[in-house]
Symmetry: C2
C-alpha cells in the first residue's frame, strides 16, 4: 500500500495532525473526564462549524440542485420495521471471544491485523525497507503476540496477501476456518479463541412504560424512514417519477470494538438519498449526458477477487456502456459524489470507487460502489452508492399491505392475452359452505401456466383438481358446472410497479476526518506550523480580524468590520489577545481560517486594511470597501486569491515580526 502524504507531499504523521485537531477542539473524546467511552466523540466549535458547512453544501449540491424531497424521520424505530427490513436478523458483525481474558474482538479485523503484522515481520526479516508510516502503523496495532520477526515461505506470503484482498468477503464460518488455519490466538493471552458469533449492531431500547422487553432500536440508517413514507412522498410529488428523497441525521451502530478515532464510531451523522426509479427501461438518467465524459477511478469486484487492488481509470460513459457500472442512474450519482468530495477539498489522487464483493454487500443491495478516500488508516469507505433494487419497498408492502408502488396511466393501453377462470358462485357457495371462500381464493391465485394445463384437463375430463391447503384432503375437485377456463384478451390502462432505489449514502464524520487529512500540511521554515487548507466555503471561520495591539483606537474599526462581515454572511472571529500577530496567525492556520484582516495605525488614518491569505501568507492592502468586496468574492468562490492578488496592491508586512509601533 502506498504511504500517506500531506497536501504538500510531506510524509504524513497522524500524531501531529491529531494533536492539532484536539488542541484546537475540532473534536474530543466524549465524556473524557469520566475516562471516555470508546467510539464516541464530540465536535468542538471549529469541528461543529465545519460539519455545519459541509452539511449545508451537501444540501445545496444534492437536495436543492436536484430538487429532492428532504425528510426528517425519527431515530427510535419499533422492532417490527427492522424485522421486516432484515436488520434484526442480518445486521451483524462476527465477534470472537478470548475465553481466558473475556476480551471480545471483531473477527475480520483480528485476522487482518495478525496477517498484516506477520507480513511486516517477514519484510523485516527479509531486510526490506519498511515505509516509515507502515512501521508506525504496525507498532500501533495492538501488541500482537506472534509478531516476532520471522521470515515466511513465499507461498504463505502470497496466501496472506490474497486473504487480505478478500477480507471483506468472508462470513463467520470462513473467518473461523481462517483463524484455525492460520493459527491465530488471543492477542494478549495466546489462548484458543471461541468460534465467531454474530453480534447484532443495533442499539436496543424500550419505547413506552409498559413493555417488559426491548421493543425498539436506534436506527442503523436513515433509509427506512424514507421508504415507509414513500406513498406520501410520491403523492407530495404529484405522482411524478423518478424522484428522490433525502435525509440528514444521526444513525447508530453498536461497534464491537471501535478504534480508528473518528472513522469507526457508534453514533454518526449520515446524509442519505433514496432515488426512486422505474426498473424498466435500463434506469436511465436525464442528466447522464451532461456527465458521461467525467473520469472515475474504479476498482471492480473481479479485480479484487483476483487478489489485486489496481483500479481502472475510465469515463463513466465507458463504464456504463461496458456494463462495469450497471446503469446510468448509478453512474450519474458516482459522478455527483465525486464532484461533491472534490468541492470539499478531497485530493483527487486519494479518491477511488470500489465495488463491493458478493458476500460483502448489505443484505438489501443488488450492487454497491463505495467512494473510498486514502488516509493514514488506508482506504476508507466514506460514501456508499448502492442499488437496493425493489427490496425494501417490496418487503414493507408485503408485510403491511400498504401500496408502496407507482400507478402510471399507460400511454398506450396494454392488451394482455391470458387464461381467465370463471366461477359459478351460486353453486360454489352451497357446495363448499364455509370453505367456499378458500376454494375461490385458491382458484384465483392459479398461475397462467397452471391455468393452461387445467383448461386442457377440464376439456378432457370435465373436471379439475386444485390444491387447497387446509380444505378437506388438501385437494379439491371442481367440475365444469362450477368453473370455466378460457383464453381471453384484457386491456390494461394502468401500469403498477415497485420502483427500484439507488442510494448514495454519506458518512459525514468519515468525510470530515479524511478531508482534514487531505488538506493538512506543515509550513516549513519556522518550527513546523500546522496548516489546514480548507476551501473557503467549508472553513469553520472565513476571516480572522487581528488588531495590531490592544490600542483603544482599533476597537470601533473591529466593531464596524464584524458587523459588515456578518451582514454579507461571512463568519468571522476577532483575536485581540496580546500574542504577537505571527502567533495569532499561526493559531489561526491550525484552525483553517483562509483569510486574515489586520487593523493597524494606517487603518485609523485612511481606513485601509491588510488582507492575508492563509496558504501563501501573501498580503494585499486596499480600502475597506475593496477588501470587503474581495473577501466576499473569495468566500463565494467567484474569484481566486491569485486574481485578487493581481488586482490589489501587494503589502510587504513582516507577519512574523509584529513589533513595529
Amino acid at each position: 500500500m502506498a504511504t500517506s502524504t500531506t497536501k504538500t507531499g510531506q510524509p504524513m504523521d497522524r500524531a501531529v495532525l491529531e494533536s492539532v485537531l484536539r488542541r484546537r477542539l475540532f473534536y474530543t473524546p466524549s465524556f473524557e473526564i469520566y475516562g471516555g467511552e470508546r467510539g464516541l466523540f464530540d465536535y468542538g466549535p471549529p469541528g461543529c462549524a465545519l460539519q455545519a458547512n459541509v452539511v449545508d453544501m451537501w444540501r445545496k449540491h444534492f437536495v436543492l440542485e436536484e430538487d429532492m424531497l428532504e425528510v426528517d424521520c425519527t431515530m427510535l424505530t419499533p422492532e417490527a420495521i427492522l424485522k421486516t427490513s432484515g436488520h434484526v436478523d442480518k445486521f451483524a458483525d462476527w465477534m470472537c471471544k478470548d475465553p481466558k481474558s473475556g476480551e471480545i474482538f471483531r473477527a475480520d479485523h483480528l485476522v487482518e491485523q495478525v496477517l498484516e503484522a506477520r507480513l511486516k515481520a517477514d519484510k523485516d526479516a527479509r531486510g526490506q525497507k519498511v515505509e516509515v508510516d507502515e512501521a508506525k502503523e504496525a507498532k500501533k496495532k495492538k501488541k500482537v503476540k506472534d509478531a516476532k520477526i520471522e521470515k515466511l515461505d513465499d507461498a504463505v506470503v502470497q496466501e496472506y496477501e490474497e486473504t487480505l484482498a478478500k477480507i471483506d468477503n468472508y462470513g463467520g464460518d470462513e473467518l473461523g476456518e481462517l483463524i484455525k488455519k492460520f493459527n491465530i490466538k488471543g492477542p494478549t493471552t495466546g489462548a484458543e479463541l471461541e468460534p465467531p458469533k454474530a453480534f447484532n449492531l443495533m442499539f436496543q431500547t424500550q419505547i413506552g412504560p409498559s413493555a417488559d422487553v426491548p421493543n425498539g432500536y436506534l436506527r442503523p440508517e436513515t433509509a427506512q424512514g424514507q421508504f415507509l413514507n414513500f406513498q406520501k412522498l410520491l403523492e407530495f410529488n404529484q405522482q411524478a417519477m423518478p424522484f428522490a428523497s433525502a435525509s440528514i441525521g444521526k444513525s447508530f451502530r453498536n461497534e464491537i470494538s471501535p478504534r480508528s478515532g473518528l472513522l469507526r464510531v457508534r453514533e454518526f451523522l449520515m446524509a442519505e438519498i433514496e432515488h426512486f426509479v422505474d426498473p424498466e427501461g435500463g434506469k436511465k438518467h436525464p442528466r447522464f449526458e451532461d456527465v458521461k465524459h467525467v473520469e472515475l477511478t474504479l476498482l471492480n469486484r473481479k479485480t479484487q477477487l483476483s487478489g489485486s487492488t489496481k483500479p481502472d481509470v475510465l469515463t463513466i460513459g465507458e463504464a456504463v456502456s461496458t456494463g462495469l457500472v450497471d446503469n446510468e442512474t448509478l453512474g450519474y450519482f458516482l459522478v455527483r459524489i465525486q464532484d461533491f468530495l472534490l468541492k470539499l477539498g478531497v485530493d483527487h489522487s486519494k479518491l477511488r470507487f470500489r465495488q463491493h464483493m458478493a458476500n460483502e454487500m448489505a443484505h438489501y443491495a443488488a450492487d454497491c460502489w463505495d467512494a473510498e478516500l486514502f488516509t493514514t488508516y488506508g482506504w476508507i469507505e466514506c460514501v456508499g452508492c448502492a442499488d437496493r433494487s425493489a427490496y425494501d419497498l417490496t418487503v414493507h408492502m408485503k408485510k403491511t399491505g400498504a401500496p408502496l408502488l407507482v400507478r402510471e396511466t399507460r400511454a398506450e393501453p396494454l392488451v394482455i392475452e391470458e387464461y381467465q377462470v370463471d366461477i359459478d358462485r351460486k353453486k360454489l357457495g352451497p357446495k363448499f359452505r364455509k370453505d367456499a371462500k378458500a376454494v375461490e381464493a385458491a382458484v384465483d391465485s392459479l398461475s397462467q401456466e397452471l391455468r393452461e394445463k387445467l383448461s386442457i384437463d377440464l376439456e378432457k375430463t370435465g373436471k379439475i383438481e386444485v390444491s387447497t391447503p387446509g380444505v378437506g384432503s388438501g385437494t379439491t375437485e371442481l367440475d365444469k358446472d362450477l368453473v370455466k377456463i378460457e383464453k381471453r384478451k384484457r386491456t390494461e390502462h394502468v401500469r403498477e410497479y415497485t420502483p427500484n432505489v439507488i442510494e448514495p449514502s454519506f458518512g459525514i464524520g468519515r468525510i470530515l476526518y479524511s478531508v482534514m487529512e487531505h488538506v493538512f500540511w506543515t509550513r516549513e521554515g519556522d518550527d513546523a506550523r500546522g496548516v489546514l487548507s480548507f476551501p473557503p466555503t467549508i472553513a469553520p471561520t472565513k476571516v480572522l480580524l487581528v488588531p495590531l495591539s490592544n490600542h483603544p483606537d482599533f476597537k470601533p474599526f473591529i466593531k464596524k468590520l464584524t458587523s459588515k462581515l456578518r451582514k454579507i454572511g461571512v463568519s468571522n472571529k476577532v483575536d485581540d489577545s496580546s500574542a504577537s500577530i505571527g502567533k495569532r496567525y499561526a493559531r489561526n492556520d491550525e484552525l483553517g481560517t483562509p483569510f486574515g484582516i489586520t487593523i493597524d495605525f494606517q487603518t485609523v488614518k485612511d481606513n485601509s486594511l491588510t488582507l492575508r491569505e492563509r496558504d501563501s501568507t501573501k498580503q494585499v492592502r486596499a480600502s475597506e470597501d475593496e477588501i470587503l468586496a474581495a473577501v466576499q468574492s473569495l468566500v463565494d468562490g467567484s474569484e481566486t486569491w491569485e486574481q485578487v492578488a493581481q488586482r490589489l496592491p501587494v503589502f510587504e508586512g513582516q507577519e512574523a515580526d509584529p513589533t513595529e509601533k
Copy 2:
C-alpha cells in the same frame, strides 16, 4: 381560559389546521403504515425546510450574534454521567396503573383531565355558555367516565380551580392523595388506581457487546455534553469569562402516555445555550442596558400559588430591579428569547413568561422562567430559561476531580488573615510512624473556627486534641513541640470559582407547532382556503414559479429563473401541473410560500413577470431584473411588501380565473 383564534381572529379549529399540515406533509405520524408509534413524528419536505430555516435563524440570532461556542456532543451517554447529574434518580414522572385494564396514565395529566371535565360538566349544568373549542377539547379528552353533566358546589369548583392552577407543583404522594380525595378512578374501567409510581423518562440501552445490563441512556438534554467539556471550552475561549456554549440536537424522553401531537413527543430537537457566568457581582450582563426598556408579560410564582394566572406586563429593567427576575443575565436572555420568537411569527398577545413553582423545577434549577405560547392546547412551554446555578459543574467536578472551574488572576491581590498550623515534620514522623500522614492530613483539614479554638488550648495547656478517625483511639494528642498555631496574613493572587449557568433551552418542535397555529388563517370568500402566513425568512419555500400553462415557450424562462433565484440564495419550486393558476396558488398558500411569480405570454414577449404576495393576493408586474431584486429584498427583510407594491406597477390579473390566454 381564553379561546384560541387564528391569525385573523377567526375561531381556531385545530382539526382544519391539522388536516392542512398532514395533507401538505409538514409532518406525519412515524411508521404509520405499521400502525404508528405514539409520540413519534416525521417531518415531510415543508416541515423539514421550516425546521432547517428556524434552526438557521436560531444559529444566527444566538450563536453568531453573541459569539457562542457551538458544540455537537453524542446522544448516547454512559450511566455514570447521568447518575452524577441526578437524572438517573430524579428525572421521572408519576404514573398510575389501572390494575383492571393494565392501562398506564400520567398521574398529573389524569387529575387535570378529570377535574377539567367535571368543571366543564358543571358549567353545562349551570347553563353557562361553553366556548366552541373548549367543548371540542372536552369531547376529545378520553371518554372520562364520570364526566356526566353534574352541578358542583361552589366550594368544590373553587377547590378544583385552585388545584389546577397548582397542578405542576405536586409530587407523587400529593397526586395520590388528590386521586383519593377527588375520587378519581380508572377512566375506562372505573377501578381504583394503583398509587403513583415514579417512572424514569430516559431510554436505556447497552453500549458495546460485553455488558450484560443496560449501561447507558439516550440523553434527556444536550446540556451535559456542554458541561463535561467546560474546561476545554474555557481554554478554547482563551480563559475569557463570561462565555456561552450552545448545541442543537435531538434529545429523548420516554413519555408515559404521549398525546397532544407534536407537543409531547419521545424524540425532539432541542437548541440549548449554557451561559457561564461569575456568580459574584450580581450576574450582570454587558448588553442589559440595550434591552432594559423591553416589556415582557410575566406570570410569577407567587401569583400562581395564590391560584391565579393573571400576568404582569413590565419592562425587564423594572423586573430585575424589583427582584422579580433574579438577575441581569437571566433578564437579558428572556428579552432575546422574546425577540427570537417574534421574528418567527409568534403572536405577541399569545406569549407569556411563567415562573416555575418550587416543586415543579428540575432538580438542578435555582430559578426558571418558561416562555409559553398560547395554542388550542392551552399555554405551552416552548422555551425554558433556567438558572442552574453551579449545580452541574460542581457535581461533575466532585465526582471526577476534573477542575471544572475558572482561575482568574486578581486585579488586586487578596489579603487573607487566617490561622495557620505549622507542623514539625522531623518530630512527627518518628513519633507516629505509619500514621504520620493521616495525622498531618487531619491537622491540615481543620477549619478556621477550630484552629482559633485550638490556638487557645495550645496556649493554655501546651497541647491540643485532634480528631483522627482510624488512628489510635480516634483522637490524637499533639503538644507544642510538634505544632504551632498562629494568626498570619496570606496574599492570594488567583481567584478560583465555579461558574453559574444560565440556560435558555428551546424545544424546536413545540415552537414550530405553535408558530403554525399562530400564522394560520382561512381566506374567506372562496371555500375557506387555508393560509400559513410564515414570515418570508422561515417559509419553507420562498417563491413559487407558475407558468400559465404547459406551453413549451415557457420552459426556458422557468429554467433561467430557477437558476437565477438559486444563485441569489432564494429557494423556489416550480408548479407546472395542469391545475388552474388559482388552484396552484391555493395549494401554495397552504404550504406558506410567500411569493409567486407567474410566467405568461407577455413574459415571452418582453421578459416581464407578475409577482404575487400570499397574504394580500395582490400582484405587481415589472421587468425580470426588477422582480428578482424585489424578491431578494423581501426575503432578506430589507423591504416590506407594502413598499414593493408602492414602487412597482400593480397588476390586476384574475388569479382565480386563469383562462385568459
